[in-house]
Symmetry: C2
Subunit: 301 residues, 2 copies
Protein backbone atom coordinates (compact mmCIF):
# COMPACT_ATOMS: atom_id res chain seq x y z
CA UNK A 1 0.00 0.00 0.00
CA UNK A 2 1.44 3.34 -1.08
CA UNK A 3 0.49 6.74 0.33
CA UNK A 4 0.86 8.29 -3.10
CA UNK A 5 1.30 7.12 -6.67
CA UNK A 6 2.40 9.79 -9.13
CA UNK A 7 1.60 8.97 -12.75
CA UNK A 8 4.03 10.70 -15.11
CA UNK A 9 7.70 11.63 -14.80
CA UNK A 10 7.83 15.10 -16.35
CA UNK A 11 8.47 18.36 -14.44
CA UNK A 12 5.11 18.24 -12.60
CA UNK A 13 5.48 14.59 -11.55
CA UNK A 14 9.12 14.91 -10.49
CA UNK A 15 8.36 18.04 -8.45
CA UNK A 16 5.49 16.24 -6.74
CA UNK A 17 7.97 13.42 -6.08
CA UNK A 18 10.46 15.81 -4.45
CA UNK A 19 7.80 17.28 -2.18
CA UNK A 20 6.27 13.88 -1.36
CA UNK A 21 9.63 12.42 -0.38
CA UNK A 22 10.33 15.41 1.85
CA UNK A 23 6.89 14.89 3.40
CA UNK A 24 7.86 11.24 4.01
CA UNK A 25 4.93 9.86 2.04
CA UNK A 26 5.49 6.32 0.78
CA UNK A 27 5.55 7.28 -2.88
CA UNK A 28 5.88 5.54 -6.24
CA UNK A 29 6.30 7.37 -9.53
CA UNK A 30 5.20 5.55 -12.69
CA UNK A 31 6.45 6.68 -16.09
CA UNK A 32 5.49 5.13 -19.41
CA UNK A 33 8.40 6.15 -21.61
CA UNK A 34 11.09 8.67 -20.75
CA UNK A 35 11.77 10.41 -17.44
CA UNK A 36 11.39 14.12 -18.13
CA UNK A 37 8.38 13.83 -20.41
CA UNK A 38 7.89 16.06 -23.44
CA UNK A 39 10.33 18.62 -22.07
CA UNK A 40 13.18 16.11 -22.23
CA UNK A 41 12.97 16.29 -26.03
CA UNK A 42 13.01 20.12 -26.04
CA UNK A 43 16.16 21.63 -27.44
CA UNK A 44 16.71 24.60 -25.11
CA UNK A 45 14.80 25.92 -22.09
CA UNK A 46 15.52 29.55 -21.27
CA UNK A 47 12.62 30.52 -19.00
CA UNK A 48 12.86 28.24 -15.98
CA UNK A 49 14.16 30.69 -13.36
CA UNK A 50 17.69 29.95 -12.19
CA UNK A 51 18.78 28.41 -15.49
CA UNK A 52 19.25 31.12 -18.15
CA UNK A 53 19.85 28.45 -20.80
CA UNK A 54 19.82 24.66 -20.49
CA UNK A 55 18.78 21.74 -22.67
CA UNK A 56 15.44 20.15 -21.88
CA UNK A 57 17.17 16.83 -21.28
CA UNK A 58 19.78 18.47 -19.03
CA UNK A 59 17.17 20.20 -16.90
CA UNK A 60 15.11 17.04 -16.53
CA UNK A 61 18.23 15.12 -15.53
CA UNK A 62 18.69 17.63 -12.69
CA UNK A 63 15.04 17.19 -11.63
CA UNK A 64 15.40 13.41 -11.71
CA UNK A 65 18.64 13.49 -9.69
CA UNK A 66 17.00 15.80 -7.17
CA UNK A 67 14.03 13.43 -6.76
CA UNK A 68 16.13 10.25 -6.71
CA UNK A 69 18.53 11.87 -4.23
CA UNK A 70 15.58 12.05 -1.85
CA UNK A 71 14.92 8.35 -2.42
CA UNK A 72 11.98 8.53 -4.84
CA UNK A 73 11.01 5.09 -6.21
CA UNK A 74 10.50 5.20 -9.99
CA UNK A 75 9.10 2.40 -12.15
CA UNK A 76 8.82 2.38 -15.94
CA UNK A 77 5.40 1.02 -16.81
CA UNK A 78 2.19 1.94 -18.57
CA UNK A 79 -0.89 2.87 -16.52
CA UNK A 80 -4.11 1.58 -18.04
CA UNK A 81 -6.71 2.51 -15.41
CA UNK A 82 -7.21 4.24 -12.07
CA UNK A 83 -10.06 2.88 -9.94
CA UNK A 84 -11.50 4.80 -7.01
CA UNK A 85 -12.39 2.56 -4.06
CA UNK A 86 -13.02 5.40 -1.62
CA UNK A 87 -10.19 5.29 0.92
CA UNK A 88 -7.92 3.52 -1.55
CA UNK A 89 -7.29 3.75 -5.27
CA UNK A 90 -6.12 0.95 -7.55
CA UNK A 91 -3.65 1.87 -10.25
CA UNK A 92 -3.68 -0.77 -12.99
CA UNK A 93 -0.51 -1.10 -15.07
CA UNK A 94 0.93 -3.49 -17.60
CA UNK A 95 3.00 -4.90 -14.71
CA UNK A 96 0.09 -5.48 -12.35
CA UNK A 97 -1.98 -3.50 -9.85
CA UNK A 98 -0.75 -1.05 -7.22
CA UNK A 99 -2.81 0.09 -4.23
CA UNK A 100 -2.48 3.61 -2.91
CA UNK A 101 -4.25 6.19 -0.74
CA UNK A 102 -3.85 9.06 -3.22
CA UNK A 103 -2.94 9.60 -6.85
CA UNK A 104 -1.40 12.54 -8.68
CA UNK A 105 -2.01 12.49 -12.43
CA UNK A 106 0.90 14.28 -14.14
CA UNK A 107 0.83 12.61 -17.51
CA UNK A 108 1.12 15.78 -19.57
CA UNK A 109 0.10 15.87 -23.18
CA UNK A 110 1.02 14.56 -26.61
CA UNK A 111 1.43 16.51 -29.86
CA UNK A 112 -1.80 16.88 -31.82
CA UNK A 113 -2.17 15.24 -35.21
CA UNK A 114 -3.40 17.41 -38.07
CA UNK A 115 -5.39 14.62 -39.67
CA UNK A 116 -4.41 15.38 -43.28
CA UNK A 117 -3.73 12.85 -46.06
CA UNK A 118 -0.23 11.41 -45.87
CA UNK A 119 0.28 12.29 -42.20
CA UNK A 120 -0.33 8.85 -40.73
CA UNK A 121 1.28 6.96 -43.58
CA UNK A 122 4.51 9.03 -43.50
CA UNK A 123 4.92 9.28 -39.70
CA UNK A 124 8.50 8.20 -39.10
CA UNK A 125 9.12 8.47 -42.86
CA UNK A 126 9.41 12.24 -43.06
CA UNK A 127 6.58 13.31 -40.78
CA UNK A 128 7.70 14.06 -37.23
CA UNK A 129 6.42 15.70 -34.03
CA UNK A 130 9.85 16.16 -32.42
CA UNK A 131 12.68 18.11 -34.02
CA UNK A 132 15.28 17.20 -31.42
CA UNK A 133 14.43 13.50 -31.94
CA UNK A 134 14.34 13.42 -35.74
CA UNK A 135 15.99 16.68 -36.89
CA UNK A 136 19.43 15.17 -37.49
CA UNK A 137 17.97 12.92 -40.26
CA UNK A 138 17.37 16.05 -42.34
CA UNK A 139 20.89 17.44 -42.49
CA UNK A 140 21.24 19.69 -45.54
CA UNK A 141 17.68 18.98 -46.68
CA UNK A 142 14.46 21.01 -46.99
CA UNK A 143 11.80 20.77 -44.30
CA UNK A 144 8.41 22.25 -43.58
CA UNK A 145 7.43 23.22 -40.03
CA UNK A 146 3.72 23.70 -39.35
CA UNK A 147 2.46 25.82 -36.43
CA UNK A 148 2.90 29.24 -34.82
CA UNK A 149 3.30 28.73 -31.07
CA UNK A 150 6.37 28.46 -28.87
CA UNK A 151 7.08 24.88 -29.85
CA UNK A 152 6.79 25.42 -33.62
CA UNK A 153 9.02 28.50 -33.49
CA UNK A 154 11.65 26.96 -31.22
CA UNK A 155 11.78 23.76 -33.24
CA UNK A 156 12.12 25.76 -36.47
CA UNK A 157 15.10 27.55 -34.91
CA UNK A 158 16.64 24.24 -33.94
CA UNK A 159 16.08 22.79 -37.43
CA UNK A 160 17.57 25.89 -39.09
CA UNK A 161 20.96 24.80 -37.78
CA UNK A 162 20.63 21.34 -39.37
CA UNK A 163 18.47 21.54 -42.49
CA UNK A 164 19.32 23.67 -45.49
CA UNK A 165 15.97 25.38 -45.85
CA UNK A 166 13.03 25.70 -43.45
CA UNK A 167 9.52 26.72 -44.47
CA UNK A 168 7.45 27.76 -41.46
CA UNK A 169 3.74 27.65 -42.31
CA UNK A 170 1.22 29.19 -39.93
CA UNK A 171 -2.50 29.61 -40.44
CA UNK A 172 -2.46 33.14 -38.97
CA UNK A 173 -0.53 36.22 -40.10
CA UNK A 174 1.57 36.42 -36.96
CA UNK A 175 3.21 33.95 -34.61
CA UNK A 176 1.92 33.24 -31.11
CA UNK A 177 5.37 32.32 -29.75
CA UNK A 178 7.18 34.44 -27.12
CA UNK A 179 8.28 37.72 -28.77
CA UNK A 180 11.97 36.99 -28.12
CA UNK A 181 11.60 33.72 -30.06
CA UNK A 182 9.59 35.37 -32.86
CA UNK A 183 12.40 37.90 -33.36
CA UNK A 184 14.97 35.12 -33.63
CA UNK A 185 12.87 33.16 -36.14
CA UNK A 186 12.32 36.20 -38.35
CA UNK A 187 16.05 37.02 -38.35
CA UNK A 188 17.27 33.61 -39.57
CA UNK A 189 18.00 33.71 -43.33
CA UNK A 190 17.16 30.07 -44.07
CA UNK A 191 13.71 30.23 -42.44
CA UNK A 192 11.01 31.34 -44.88
CA UNK A 193 7.65 32.31 -43.39
CA UNK A 194 4.48 31.15 -45.12
CA UNK A 195 1.83 33.28 -43.42
CA UNK A 196 -1.84 32.27 -43.55
CA UNK A 197 -0.97 28.86 -44.98
CA UNK A 198 -2.35 25.48 -43.94
CA UNK A 199 -1.01 22.04 -44.80
CA UNK A 200 -3.45 20.08 -46.96
CA UNK A 201 -1.59 16.88 -47.81
CA UNK A 202 1.78 15.14 -48.19
CA UNK A 203 2.96 12.98 -51.04
CA UNK A 204 5.88 10.74 -51.89
CA UNK A 205 6.93 7.21 -52.75
CA UNK A 206 8.59 5.75 -49.65
CA UNK A 207 8.86 8.96 -47.65
CA UNK A 208 7.67 12.56 -47.93
CA UNK A 209 8.71 14.28 -51.17
CA UNK A 210 6.12 17.00 -51.51
CA UNK A 211 3.81 19.04 -49.26
CA UNK A 212 0.70 20.76 -50.55
CA UNK A 213 -0.44 23.93 -48.75
CA UNK A 214 -3.27 26.36 -49.18
CA UNK A 215 -3.16 30.12 -48.71
CA UNK A 216 -6.16 31.05 -46.55
CA UNK A 217 -6.28 34.61 -47.92
CA UNK A 218 -6.69 33.79 -51.64
CA UNK A 219 -7.10 29.99 -51.52
CA UNK A 220 -4.05 29.59 -53.78
CA UNK A 221 -2.39 26.17 -53.68
CA UNK A 222 1.35 25.98 -53.05
CA UNK A 223 3.49 22.90 -53.58
CA UNK A 224 6.79 22.54 -51.76
CA UNK A 225 9.50 19.98 -52.42
CA UNK A 226 10.48 18.93 -48.91
CA UNK A 227 11.91 15.78 -47.37
CA UNK A 228 10.55 16.43 -43.88
CA UNK A 229 7.40 17.84 -42.29
CA UNK A 230 7.41 18.77 -38.59
CA UNK A 231 3.97 19.35 -37.09
CA UNK A 232 3.51 21.46 -33.93
CA UNK A 233 -0.14 22.48 -33.82
CA UNK A 234 -0.93 22.03 -30.15
CA UNK A 235 -1.29 19.21 -27.71
CA UNK A 236 -3.83 16.69 -26.51
CA UNK A 237 -3.91 15.73 -22.83
CA UNK A 238 -2.91 12.20 -21.84
CA UNK A 239 -5.80 11.53 -19.50
CA UNK A 240 -7.99 8.86 -21.07
CA UNK A 241 -7.09 6.28 -18.43
CA UNK A 242 -8.66 8.23 -15.56
CA UNK A 243 -12.36 8.91 -15.22
CA UNK A 244 -12.56 12.38 -13.66
CA UNK A 245 -14.26 15.55 -14.85
CA UNK A 246 -12.64 17.07 -17.96
CA UNK A 247 -13.19 20.04 -20.27
CA UNK A 248 -14.30 19.63 -23.89
CA UNK A 249 -10.69 19.14 -25.04
CA UNK A 250 -10.07 16.40 -22.49
CA UNK A 251 -7.98 18.43 -20.02
CA UNK A 252 -8.72 17.56 -16.39
CA UNK A 253 -10.64 20.17 -14.39
CA UNK A 254 -9.27 21.20 -10.97
CA UNK A 255 -9.68 23.81 -8.31
CA UNK A 256 -6.70 25.90 -7.12
CA UNK A 257 -5.69 22.98 -4.87
CA UNK A 258 -5.20 20.62 -7.86
CA UNK A 259 -8.15 18.54 -6.61
CA UNK A 260 -10.10 16.70 -9.33
CA UNK A 261 -13.75 15.64 -9.18
CA UNK A 262 -12.69 12.49 -7.26
CA UNK A 263 -11.43 12.94 -3.69
CA UNK A 264 -7.82 11.84 -3.33
CA UNK A 265 -7.05 12.13 -7.04
CA UNK A 266 -5.02 15.24 -7.80
CA UNK A 267 -3.59 16.50 -11.06
CA UNK A 268 -0.57 18.65 -11.96
CA UNK A 269 0.93 20.09 -15.13
CA UNK A 270 -0.06 20.08 -18.80
CA UNK A 271 -2.87 17.52 -18.52
CA UNK A 272 -5.01 19.90 -16.48
CA UNK A 273 -6.91 23.03 -17.55
CA UNK A 274 -4.04 25.40 -16.73
CA UNK A 275 -3.80 28.81 -18.45
CA UNK A 276 -0.10 28.28 -19.27
CA UNK A 277 1.92 25.15 -20.00
CA UNK A 278 5.52 25.69 -18.91
CA UNK A 279 8.13 24.00 -16.72
CA UNK A 280 7.60 26.90 -14.26
CA UNK A 281 3.88 26.26 -13.94
CA UNK A 282 4.27 22.45 -13.84
CA UNK A 283 6.63 22.91 -10.88
CA UNK A 284 4.12 25.08 -9.02
CA UNK A 285 1.36 22.56 -9.71
CA UNK A 286 3.48 19.61 -8.61
CA UNK A 287 4.35 21.22 -5.28
CA UNK A 288 0.71 22.05 -4.50
CA UNK A 289 -0.57 18.61 -5.57
CA UNK A 290 1.92 16.81 -3.31
CA UNK A 291 1.13 19.13 -0.39
CA UNK A 292 -2.59 18.45 -0.82
CA UNK A 293 -1.99 14.70 -1.18
CA UNK A 294 -0.11 14.79 2.14
CA UNK A 295 -3.01 16.59 3.84
CA UNK A 296 -5.43 14.06 2.36
CA UNK A 297 -3.39 11.11 3.69
CA UNK A 298 -3.17 12.72 7.14
CA UNK A 299 -6.93 13.27 7.25
CA UNK A 300 -7.54 9.59 6.36
CA UNK A 301 -5.75 8.34 9.46
CA UNK B 1 4.54 54.73 -19.98
CA UNK B 2 5.37 51.15 -19.10
CA UNK B 3 3.50 48.07 -20.29
CA UNK B 4 4.03 46.41 -16.93
CA UNK B 5 5.23 47.39 -13.48
CA UNK B 6 6.09 44.50 -11.18
CA UNK B 7 6.04 45.41 -7.49
CA UNK B 8 8.34 43.16 -5.47
CA UNK B 9 11.64 41.45 -6.32
CA UNK B 10 11.24 38.02 -4.74
CA UNK B 11 10.87 34.74 -6.68
CA UNK B 12 7.38 35.61 -8.01
CA UNK B 13 8.38 39.11 -9.16
CA UNK B 14 11.67 38.02 -10.74
CA UNK B 15 9.94 35.17 -12.61
CA UNK B 16 7.31 37.59 -13.89
CA UNK B 17 10.22 39.80 -14.97
CA UNK B 18 11.85 36.96 -16.90
CA UNK B 19 8.62 36.15 -18.74
CA UNK B 20 7.76 39.81 -19.37
CA UNK B 21 11.20 40.52 -20.86
CA UNK B 22 10.88 37.50 -23.12
CA UNK B 23 7.43 38.76 -24.16
CA UNK B 24 9.08 42.15 -24.95
CA UNK B 25 6.84 44.08 -22.59
CA UNK B 26 8.35 47.41 -21.48
CA UNK B 27 8.74 46.38 -17.86
CA UNK B 28 9.95 47.96 -14.61
CA UNK B 29 10.44 46.01 -11.38
CA UNK B 30 10.23 47.97 -8.14
CA UNK B 31 11.70 46.53 -4.94
CA UNK B 32 11.61 48.22 -1.53
CA UNK B 33 14.51 46.55 0.22
CA UNK B 34 16.44 43.51 -0.99
CA UNK B 35 16.22 41.71 -4.35
CA UNK B 36 15.15 38.16 -3.53
CA UNK B 37 12.64 39.09 -0.84
CA UNK B 38 12.14 36.95 2.27
CA UNK B 39 13.73 33.95 0.59
CA UNK B 40 17.06 35.80 0.27
CA UNK B 41 17.37 35.60 4.07
CA UNK B 42 16.58 31.86 4.15
CA UNK B 43 19.50 29.67 5.08
CA UNK B 44 19.04 26.69 2.76
CA UNK B 45 16.47 25.86 0.07
CA UNK B 46 16.25 22.17 -0.80
CA UNK B 47 12.92 21.89 -2.58
CA UNK B 48 13.18 24.10 -5.65
CA UNK B 49 13.52 21.48 -8.41
CA UNK B 50 16.90 21.47 -10.08
CA UNK B 51 18.80 22.68 -7.01
CA UNK B 52 19.04 19.88 -4.40
CA UNK B 53 20.58 22.32 -1.90
CA UNK B 54 21.33 26.03 -2.28
CA UNK B 55 21.32 29.07 -0.02
CA UNK B 56 18.31 31.36 -0.33
CA UNK B 57 20.60 34.23 -1.24
CA UNK B 58 22.43 32.10 -3.83
CA UNK B 59 19.21 31.02 -5.52
CA UNK B 60 17.85 34.56 -5.63
CA UNK B 61 21.15 35.77 -7.11
CA UNK B 62 20.62 33.26 -9.93
CA UNK B 63 17.04 34.49 -10.46
CA UNK B 64 18.24 38.11 -10.50
CA UNK B 65 21.03 37.35 -12.98
CA UNK B 66 18.57 35.49 -15.19
CA UNK B 67 16.18 38.48 -15.19
CA UNK B 68 18.89 41.12 -15.61
CA UNK B 69 20.48 39.06 -18.39
CA UNK B 70 17.23 39.56 -20.30
CA UNK B 71 17.48 43.31 -19.69
CA UNK B 72 14.97 43.73 -16.86
CA UNK B 73 14.98 47.28 -15.42
CA UNK B 74 15.01 47.22 -11.60
CA UNK B 75 14.60 50.22 -9.30
CA UNK B 76 14.90 50.21 -5.50
CA UNK B 77 12.03 52.28 -4.14
CA UNK B 78 8.99 52.04 -1.90
CA UNK B 79 5.52 51.83 -3.48
CA UNK B 80 2.91 53.78 -1.51
CA UNK B 81 -0.18 53.49 -3.71
CA UNK B 82 -1.53 51.96 -6.92
CA UNK B 83 -4.30 53.95 -8.61
CA UNK B 84 -6.54 52.43 -11.27
CA UNK B 85 -7.34 54.88 -14.09
CA UNK B 86 -8.96 52.29 -16.37
CA UNK B 87 -6.58 51.81 -19.30
CA UNK B 88 -3.63 53.01 -17.22
CA UNK B 89 -2.53 52.59 -13.62
CA UNK B 90 -0.44 55.04 -11.60
CA UNK B 91 2.14 53.53 -9.28
CA UNK B 92 3.10 56.07 -6.60
CA UNK B 93 6.54 55.66 -5.04
CA UNK B 94 8.81 57.65 -2.78
CA UNK B 95 10.67 58.62 -5.95
CA UNK B 96 7.67 59.86 -7.88
CA UNK B 97 4.87 58.42 -10.01
CA UNK B 98 5.13 55.81 -12.75
CA UNK B 99 2.46 55.20 -15.38
CA UNK B 100 1.80 51.70 -16.69
CA UNK B 101 -0.78 49.62 -18.53
CA UNK B 102 -0.67 46.68 -16.09
CA UNK B 103 0.63 45.90 -12.63
CA UNK B 104 1.76 42.65 -11.01
CA UNK B 105 1.74 42.76 -7.21
CA UNK B 106 4.41 40.37 -5.93
CA UNK B 107 5.21 41.96 -2.60
CA UNK B 108 5.09 38.77 -0.57
CA UNK B 109 4.61 38.85 3.16
CA UNK B 110 6.28 39.87 6.40
CA UNK B 111 6.72 37.83 9.59
CA UNK B 112 3.81 38.14 12.00
CA UNK B 113 4.29 39.76 15.38
CA UNK B 114 3.07 37.83 18.42
CA UNK B 115 1.97 40.99 20.24
CA UNK B 116 3.31 39.97 23.67
CA UNK B 117 4.90 42.27 26.27
CA UNK B 118 8.56 42.96 25.56
CA UNK B 119 8.32 42.00 21.87
CA UNK B 120 8.26 45.50 20.44
CA UNK B 121 10.65 46.97 23.00
CA UNK B 122 13.30 44.26 22.46
CA UNK B 123 13.08 43.99 18.66
CA UNK B 124 16.68 44.29 17.53
CA UNK B 125 17.78 43.83 21.14
CA UNK B 126 17.30 40.10 21.39
CA UNK B 127 13.99 39.68 19.55
CA UNK B 128 14.38 38.76 15.88
CA UNK B 129 12.32 37.48 12.94
CA UNK B 130 15.29 36.32 10.86
CA UNK B 131 17.85 33.78 12.05
CA UNK B 132 20.17 34.15 9.07
CA UNK B 133 20.21 37.93 9.65
CA UNK B 134 20.70 37.98 13.42
CA UNK B 135 21.76 34.43 14.37
CA UNK B 136 25.51 35.17 14.43
CA UNK B 137 25.00 37.64 17.35
CA UNK B 138 24.04 34.69 19.55
CA UNK B 139 27.17 32.57 19.19
CA UNK B 140 27.50 30.27 22.20
CA UNK B 141 24.36 31.69 23.85
CA UNK B 142 20.87 30.38 24.65
CA UNK B 143 17.96 31.23 22.39
CA UNK B 144 14.26 30.53 22.20
CA UNK B 145 12.59 29.83 18.84
CA UNK B 146 8.79 30.17 18.72
CA UNK B 147 6.69 28.41 16.05
CA UNK B 148 6.16 25.00 14.45
CA UNK B 149 6.09 25.47 10.69
CA UNK B 150 8.79 25.11 8.05
CA UNK B 151 10.40 28.43 8.86
CA UNK B 152 10.55 27.91 12.63
CA UNK B 153 12.01 24.42 12.23
CA UNK B 154 14.55 25.41 9.57
CA UNK B 155 15.66 28.47 11.49
CA UNK B 156 16.04 26.38 14.68
CA UNK B 157 18.32 24.03 12.71
CA UNK B 158 20.36 26.95 11.48
CA UNK B 159 20.65 28.44 14.99
CA UNK B 160 21.66 25.06 16.46
CA UNK B 161 24.98 25.43 14.65
CA UNK B 162 25.63 28.87 16.22
CA UNK B 163 23.98 29.09 19.62
CA UNK B 164 24.78 26.78 22.50
CA UNK B 165 21.21 25.81 23.39
CA UNK B 166 17.96 26.16 21.45
CA UNK B 167 14.51 25.91 22.98
CA UNK B 168 11.83 25.36 20.32
CA UNK B 169 8.41 26.27 21.71
CA UNK B 170 5.31 25.34 19.75
CA UNK B 171 1.68 25.70 20.81
CA UNK B 172 0.75 22.28 19.40
CA UNK B 173 2.11 18.85 20.29
CA UNK B 174 3.64 18.26 16.88
CA UNK B 175 5.43 20.34 14.26
CA UNK B 176 3.82 21.37 10.99
CA UNK B 177 7.14 21.53 9.13
CA UNK B 178 8.03 19.12 6.30
CA UNK B 179 8.63 15.66 7.83
CA UNK B 180 12.26 15.60 6.63
CA UNK B 181 12.90 18.83 8.53
CA UNK B 182 11.02 17.60 11.63
CA UNK B 183 13.26 14.53 11.75
CA UNK B 184 16.37 16.69 11.59
CA UNK B 185 15.13 19.02 14.34
CA UNK B 186 14.28 16.13 16.66
CA UNK B 187 17.70 14.53 16.13
CA UNK B 188 19.79 17.58 17.10
CA UNK B 189 21.01 17.27 20.71
CA UNK B 190 21.11 20.99 21.52
CA UNK B 191 17.50 21.61 20.42
CA UNK B 192 15.02 21.06 23.26
CA UNK B 193 11.34 20.85 22.30
CA UNK B 194 8.79 22.65 24.44
CA UNK B 195 5.52 21.16 23.17
CA UNK B 196 2.22 22.92 23.84
CA UNK B 197 3.99 26.05 25.06
CA UNK B 198 3.23 29.66 24.18
CA UNK B 199 5.39 32.72 24.79
CA UNK B 200 3.74 35.13 27.24
CA UNK B 201 6.37 37.86 27.77
CA UNK B 202 10.05 38.81 27.62
CA UNK B 203 12.06 40.63 30.23
CA UNK B 204 15.50 42.22 30.61
CA UNK B 205 17.36 45.44 31.23
CA UNK B 206 18.83 46.53 27.90
CA UNK B 207 18.12 43.34 25.96
CA UNK B 208 16.25 40.08 26.45
CA UNK B 209 17.36 38.14 29.52
CA UNK B 210 14.32 36.04 30.30
CA UNK B 211 11.34 34.56 28.44
CA UNK B 212 8.15 33.52 30.20
CA UNK B 213 6.10 30.70 28.64
CA UNK B 214 2.91 28.91 29.53
CA UNK B 215 2.14 25.22 29.10
CA UNK B 216 -1.26 25.00 27.41
CA UNK B 217 -1.94 21.53 28.86
CA UNK B 218 -1.64 22.36 32.59
CA UNK B 219 -1.22 26.15 32.47
CA UNK B 220 2.15 25.87 34.27
CA UNK B 221 4.47 28.86 33.84
CA UNK B 222 8.02 28.26 32.67
CA UNK B 223 10.83 30.81 32.83
CA UNK B 224 13.83 30.47 30.54
CA UNK B 225 17.11 32.37 30.75
CA UNK B 226 17.74 33.24 27.12
CA UNK B 227 19.58 36.04 25.32
CA UNK B 228 17.62 35.74 22.07
CA UNK B 229 14.03 35.05 20.99
CA UNK B 230 13.29 34.19 17.35
CA UNK B 231 9.64 34.39 16.38
CA UNK B 232 8.26 32.46 13.35
CA UNK B 233 4.51 32.26 13.81
CA UNK B 234 3.29 32.93 10.29
CA UNK B 235 3.22 35.82 7.90
CA UNK B 236 1.13 38.84 7.05
CA UNK B 237 0.75 39.86 3.40
CA UNK B 238 2.33 43.10 2.22
CA UNK B 239 -0.66 44.42 0.33
CA UNK B 240 -1.97 47.48 2.18
CA UNK B 241 -0.91 49.83 -0.62
CA UNK B 242 -3.27 48.33 -3.18
CA UNK B 243 -7.04 48.47 -2.97
CA UNK B 244 -8.23 45.15 -4.42
CA UNK B 245 -10.39 42.40 -2.94
CA UNK B 246 -8.69 40.51 -0.09
CA UNK B 247 -9.52 37.70 2.32
CA UNK B 248 -9.98 38.29 6.05
CA UNK B 249 -6.22 37.97 6.65
CA UNK B 250 -5.40 40.55 4.00
CA UNK B 251 -4.20 38.15 1.29
CA UNK B 252 -5.25 39.21 -2.22
CA UNK B 253 -7.98 37.11 -3.85
CA UNK B 254 -7.37 35.88 -7.42
CA UNK B 255 -8.73 33.47 -9.96
CA UNK B 256 -6.51 30.79 -11.55
CA UNK B 257 -5.23 33.47 -13.97
CA UNK B 258 -3.80 35.60 -11.13
CA UNK B 259 -6.37 38.31 -11.96
CA UNK B 260 -7.45 40.48 -8.99
CA UNK B 261 -10.77 42.30 -8.62
CA UNK B 262 -9.35 45.18 -10.73
CA UNK B 263 -8.75 44.53 -14.45
CA UNK B 264 -5.08 44.82 -15.34
CA UNK B 265 -3.85 44.32 -11.79
CA UNK B 266 -2.46 40.82 -11.31
CA UNK B 267 -0.85 39.22 -8.28
CA UNK B 268 1.71 36.44 -7.78
CA UNK B 269 3.32 34.67 -4.84
CA UNK B 270 2.90 34.83 -1.08
CA UNK B 271 0.72 37.96 -0.96
CA UNK B 272 -2.18 36.12 -2.62
CA UNK B 273 -4.52 33.46 -1.24
CA UNK B 274 -2.41 30.54 -2.44
CA UNK B 275 -2.66 27.14 -0.75
CA UNK B 276 1.15 26.84 -0.48
CA UNK B 277 3.91 29.43 -0.12
CA UNK B 278 7.09 28.15 -1.72
CA UNK B 279 9.66 29.25 -4.30
CA UNK B 280 8.15 26.59 -6.60
CA UNK B 281 4.65 28.02 -6.37
CA UNK B 282 5.84 31.65 -6.60
CA UNK B 283 7.57 30.74 -9.87
CA UNK B 284 4.40 29.20 -11.30
CA UNK B 285 2.38 32.25 -10.24
CA UNK B 286 4.90 34.71 -11.69
CA UNK B 287 4.91 32.99 -15.09
CA UNK B 288 1.10 32.99 -15.31
CA UNK B 289 0.77 36.60 -14.11
CA UNK B 290 3.24 37.85 -16.75
CA UNK B 291 1.53 35.81 -19.48
CA UNK B 292 -1.86 37.28 -18.52
CA UNK B 293 -0.41 40.81 -18.30
CA UNK B 294 0.91 40.36 -21.86
CA UNK B 295 -2.54 39.27 -23.08
CA UNK B 296 -4.11 42.25 -21.30
CA UNK B 297 -1.69 44.70 -22.97
CA UNK B 298 -2.34 43.13 -26.38
CA UNK B 299 -6.11 43.42 -25.91
CA UNK B 300 -5.76 47.12 -25.00
CA UNK B 301 -4.20 48.02 -28.34
Amino acid sequence: MYDLIIIGGGPAGLTAGIYAQRARLKTLLLEKEVIGGQIAVSDIIENYPGFPSISGAGLMEKFEQHARGLGLEIKLTDVTDVQDKGKTKIVKTSEGDFITKTVIVATGAKPKRLGVPGEKEFTGKGVSYCATCDGPFFKGQRVLVVGGGDTAAKEALYLSRIANKIYLAHRRDQLRAEKIIQEKVLSIPNIEMLWSHVLKSMHGKIGVEKAVLQNLKDNAIKELDVEGVFIFVGINPTADFVDVEKDKNGFIKTDQNMQTSIKGIFVAGDCRTTPLKQVSTAVGDGAIAAFMAEKFVEDLS
